[in-house]
């Protein structure tokens, strides 16, 4: 809300410099956004929160100033001389939709001279950035910016008859507005109509056909109160936002309607001449009576933490326009002013008192008691995940929760049902709540490839959204990563992560097939018997789909499974003081035998002396072993907790391992 320094001075003496005024207003809730000089005036920009529509006019701001600086507030009397012709002889008003328009008032002035506004009026409007049109329109704008009550002037002779009808619009009704654009109306909108057609959209915009022009002579001045929600919906639907709709949306002072109408007529008579008909047409509901509010004295320190003298409280309440009805040792009871419809409860009064008394009076050094607090297990697991992955060279990415249909379709192994969709898209038409983090990470990978970044190792932890039968969709917290490394290395990173979470956890892989991945290089990950996620190398077609030049390996895991298997309270196991003994094994096996089988056989046969198995490599010697065979070379370490192992003992275990591998995997030892 822009206010003019010179204009404010008409209602309250400003015996301070602008900087101090701005500071005080800021600290009282009208946040100063900036000030600019306009000719010999200042345009002061104040942020008015939505609960304070009373400050959407200069008088309201002046009232705040008068309270803050203990100055007298003078407001214009607004009592224009009236002629003897009753307004009821000239026109009629019918209100058909009291739910959309609470109250409608009209006054009639005949015989005006439309022309340019005087300099003082031009200056006022120019300071606050409102263009001048003619004296009549300028006066309605002026009074709106003075009181916060929007007004509209119709050319009475252009109305299609001596009757104003306030009704809801018809289904296919069209309307030509002042901006000379045609708008499609619907029955949720409140319109002002003459017997033939809509002449204004109530509270939003006037019509072109009845607007005041140089040839206008007789005027109908509208001052009304429209339903805030309806005005907001209408303005939004038609994308027609005006100072008028802005004020009606926030709620105007019901008792200010008539004052603004009189004030407007007073200025028109002064500046454009003419004759005001006697009385006004006033239809709609009675102004609701304000309920009184009880403030218990003990509630002020209870909420604010400071004592404020009852006399000070009563003075502030009175200056704010509250009428005190009773006061005693326990409480004070007041009726709030009509322009402060935000004041309905005790807490509202407490806030007002604190605001005017000053928040700077509240101390900032009370002793807030200590309580225990600790990190949750999920937080600790997440911390381990981040620590291991950053140590392994992965950077943390953060991507949007909502993705495009193309991305959504590319990978969705967790659920088959269609994704949730937002009514309005978030970015670039993306409106689907993701089922996986991987498409977004591939998008981030592409961004980095485009930038020619040589190493692209990214991970993200975030939620995916799975529609379900519960009262809310299921949100699963995921860990996903994209790497330039091959399957096996990424697998190694994940095994290290699992070891960091729980060294005793067991990882198992199961073959699977997913669209995005190379068929033979994609597996399900199972941890301690739970399906935890997927790892795979992206196929050529997958790469193409995401416009990636280089291959990438992806993994996605449920953090819930990681949390479940994590061992966060480790127990000490005594370490053997005796030396280890190592042996190498080199087995020839069929191509279809997997390392996991060899390892399992080795582990079973090597217990309890086997301490460690280390895979070295797999290679093939077609000449010696023939086709369909491969060699697996690995090392084992033995150690005892109670003695130094002898070579004979070790060789015996090694022999046992060889035998078991031969029996269970058909392995032949390479001598």
């Amino acid at each position: 809300m822009l206010v003019s320094w010179n204009w404010l001075k008409e209602y309250v003496a400003l015996q301070v410099d602008p900087a101090e005024l701005e500071e005080r207003l800021t600290m009282a809730g009208l946040n100063h956004e900036g000030t600019s000089r306009v000719e010999d005036d200042l345009a002061i920009d104040l942020e008015v929160t939505s609960n304070r529509p009373d400050c959407l006019g200069h008088l309201g701001v002046a009232r705040e100033i008068s309270i803050l600086f203990q100055q007298e507030l003078t407001s214009p009397p607004a009592s224009p001389p009236q002629s003897s012709t009753p307004v009821t002889d000239l026109t009629r008003v019918t209100l058909e939709c009291p739910e959309l328009c609470y109250r409608y008032t009209a006054r009639v002035i005949r015989g005006v001279r439309v022309g340019p506004s005087p300099d003082w009026l031009v200056d006022r409007l120019r300071t606050i950035g409102i263009g001048v049109i003619n004296n009549i329109v300028d006066i309605t704008n002026y009074v709106c910016m003075e009181s916060g009550q929007p007004l509209h002037a119709f050319d009475l002779q252009k109305l299609g008859g001596p009757e104003i009808l306030v009704r809801s619009a018809r289904a296919d009704e069209k309307f030509l507005a002042i901006d000379h654009k045609t708008y499609d109306l619907d029955p949720s909108m409140c319109i002002i109509a003459d017997p033939n057609q809509a002449v204004a959209i109530g509270g939003v915009m006037g019509g072109a056909e009845t607007e005041v022009s140089d040839s206008s002579v007789d005027l109908l001045i509208e001052a009304a109160e429209f339903d805030p929600v309806s005005v907001r919906t209408t303005a939004r639907r038609l994308n027609l936002h005006s100072p008028s709709s802005y004020r009606f949306e926030r709620g105007i002072d019901p008792e200010g309607v008539d004052w603004a109408s009189r004030r407007c007529c007073e200025l028109i008579l002064d500046l454009a001449g003419g004759e005001l008909a006697e009385g006004s047409l006033d239809v709609g509901r009675e102004i609701p009576e304000r309920q009184s509010i009880v403030l218990r004295w003990n509630q002020l320190p209870r909420v604010l933490g400071i004592e404020i003298e009852p006399d000070t409280v009563r003075r502030i309440l009175a200056e704010l326009g509250n009428q005190e009805t009773t006061v005693d040792q326990q409480h004070v009871e007041v009726v709030p002013p009509s322009w402060r419809r935000d004041l309905t409860r005790e807490i509202d009064l407490i806030e007002e008192i604190a605001r005017i008394h000053g928040y700077d009076k509240i101390p900032e050094d009370t002793r807030v008691g200590m309580v225990p607090s600790h990190r949750t297990d999920d937080e600790r697991v997440l911390e381990i995940v981040r620590r291991v992955l950053t140590a392994a060279g992965y950077d943390e990415a953060m991507t949007y929760s909502v993705i495009s249909e193309e991305w959504s379709r590319s990978f969705s192994p967790w659920i088959k049902s269609p994704p949730l969709q937002s009514q309005i898209p978030m970015l670039h038409g993306a409106d689907l709540l993701r089922h996986s983090l991987l498409p977004s990470l591939l998008g981030a990978r592409r961004v980095n490839e485009t930038l020619s970044n040589p190493v692209i190792e990214l991970f993200e932890t975030a939620r995916i959204y799975l529609p379900g039968k519960e009262s809310l969709p299921q949100e699963e917290h995921m860990l996903a990563l994209t790497s330039g490394k091959r399957f096996c290395e990424v697998q190694g990173d994940l095994v290290e992560l699992l070891a960091a979470l729980n060294p005793d956890s067991e990882l198992e892989v199961k073959d699977t097939h997913l669209d995005l991945f190379e068929p033979s290089r994609c597996v399900e990950l199972w941890i301690d018997g739970q399906h935890a996620g997927y790892v795979g190398e992206v196929s050529q077609s997958g790469q193409k789909q995401f416009s990636l030049r280089k291959p990438t390996t992806l993994a996605e895991l449920k953090l819930a499974v990681l949390s479940q298997i994590a061992n966060l309270k480790r127990q000490h196991v005594p370490q053997s003081p005796y030396p280890p003994i190592s042996r190498d094994l080199n087995l020839v096996v069929d191509e279809n035998v997997r390392w996991s089988q060899i390892a399992a056989a080795t582990r079973a046969a090597g217990a309890p002396l086997l301490e460690n198995i280390r895979y070295n490599e797999t290679y093939r010697d077609l000449e010696k072993d023939g086709p369909g065979k491969k060699r697996i070379f690995y090392s084992v370490t033995f150690r005892s907790s109670d003695r130094t192992l002898t070579g004979e003992e070790t060789d015996a275990v090694r022999q046992k391992i060889e035998n078991v591998c031969e029996q269970s995997c058909g392995a032949v030892l390479l001598k």
Binding site: T26, T49, V303, Y359, I362, T366, V368, A391, S471, L472
Partner: protein, 340 residues
């Protein structure tokens, strides 16, 4: 040969070896001195060793001990000289191999945490020290938790479908209209619904509001909110906790001030500024939990009071790291990430 004669001879050998080794001008001279004294075939030490046989049996241990001492001494002197000579040779730039300490070693590539995570962790850490525990809640919310319980009635403009990411209702019908939460206060409601006071929590995470992305706006961002509800909690406690927070975050004794503001779920509502480098900078919104909110979760506003505050994480992060366009934050350029 007597012991005394033998020892004399050893001493002489030792001092003459020391002298010659020290005087050797270069590696060649050093080598010839080495051969002369400790050469394995015909070195003088070897010759002296042969004399040991001629010593009386009873004197032999003493003679042998001294012989070994001298041998070690000469050997050490030789090695010291050799090292020095070699150092001189390489330092002298005479064409030998030179060690270059500026050659880079293999550098492990460490990943970097996202700056938003780093900001969140710092804020969480500070609030944890002040006794606030983390509470979590869904990102997809119903209207009760996102609006109604937070004192945002249906007529409130904040509920406009164009200002929120409401979900389309598909085959699955939920009890209420769902939307992506527009604030993390929803978590406060969920916690209060399920816990009796006292409550001292922070909630944080992604929130969503339709906004065209620009340097200071994104349709998705992060918030952190604190809530403390108990008997006898006052606005002075709010100010004190925020001052402790600001002082911890900025690492100095910082003052805070309140400016009146308006939020539906707190009353009084304030904007919080902190004093930094002689300027007031905006920190976030705060206030006393509105009695209507306390009632909505089944608390008695005459029994308990509470305060709440909220901060936008992107803004804090951008300010701390000098990021002037917050769209960079979600671009995930590895070079961007590696700055933090």
């Amino acid at each position: 040969m007597t012991l005394a004669e033998f020892l004399n001879q050893l001493d002489e050998l030792a001092s003459s070896a020391q002298q010659q080794l020290e005087q050797a001008a270069d590696l060649d001279a050093l080598e010839s001195a080495r051969v002369e004294f400790i050469g394995t075939k015909s070195g003088r030490l070897k010759a002296t060793q042969k004399l040991l046989g001629k010593i009386e049996k009873t004197d032999k241990p003493a003679a042998g001990k001294r012989f070994n001492e001298v041998k070690t001494q000469i050997q050490a002197a030789y090695e010291q000289q050799q090292q020095q000579q070699m150092a001189n040779a390489s330092g002298g730039g005479t064409g030998g191999e030179q060690f270059d300490p500026t050659v880079p070693g293999p550098r492990p590539r460490l990943g970097h945490l996202h700056p938003i995570t780093q900001t969140i962790e710092e804020l969480k850490d500070i609030m944890g020290r002040l006794g606030f525990s983390l509470a979590d809640g869904p990102e997809i919310e119903d209207e009760w938790h996102n609006f109604e319980a937070l004192n945002i009635p249906l007529s409130h403009p904040a509920r406009d479908p164009l200002d929120n990411f409401y979900l389309r209702v598909g085959e699955k019908t939920y009890d209420q209209a769902l939307l992506m939460r527009s604030q993390t206060s929803t978590v406060q409601i969920r916690v209060m619904e399920n816990t009796r006071p006292p409550v001292r929590i922070i909630s944080l995470g992604r929130v969503y509001r339709p906004d065209t992305p620009d340097a200071t706006h994104l349709p998705m961002f992060h918030q952190i909110e604190g809530l403390l509800v108990d008997r006898q909690v006052t606005m002075a406690d709010l100010k004190s906790v925020l001052r402790l927070f600001a002082s911890s975050y900025l690492g100095a004794d910082v003052h805070v001030r309140f400016r009146p503001s308006f939020f539906p779920f707190t009353e009084p509502s304030v904007e919080v500024d902190m004093r930094w480098n002689d300027k007031w900078i905006e920190m976030g919104g705060a206030g006393m939990v509105d009695p209507a909110v306390l009632k909505a979760v089944g608390y008695d506003p005459d029994e308990v009071t509470g305060f709440a505050f909220g901060l936008g994480i992107e803004r804090l992060c951008a300010r701390r790291h000098g990021i002037d366009d917050i769209r960079e934050i979600y671009k995930n350029d590895v070079r961007f990430l590696h700055q933090f």
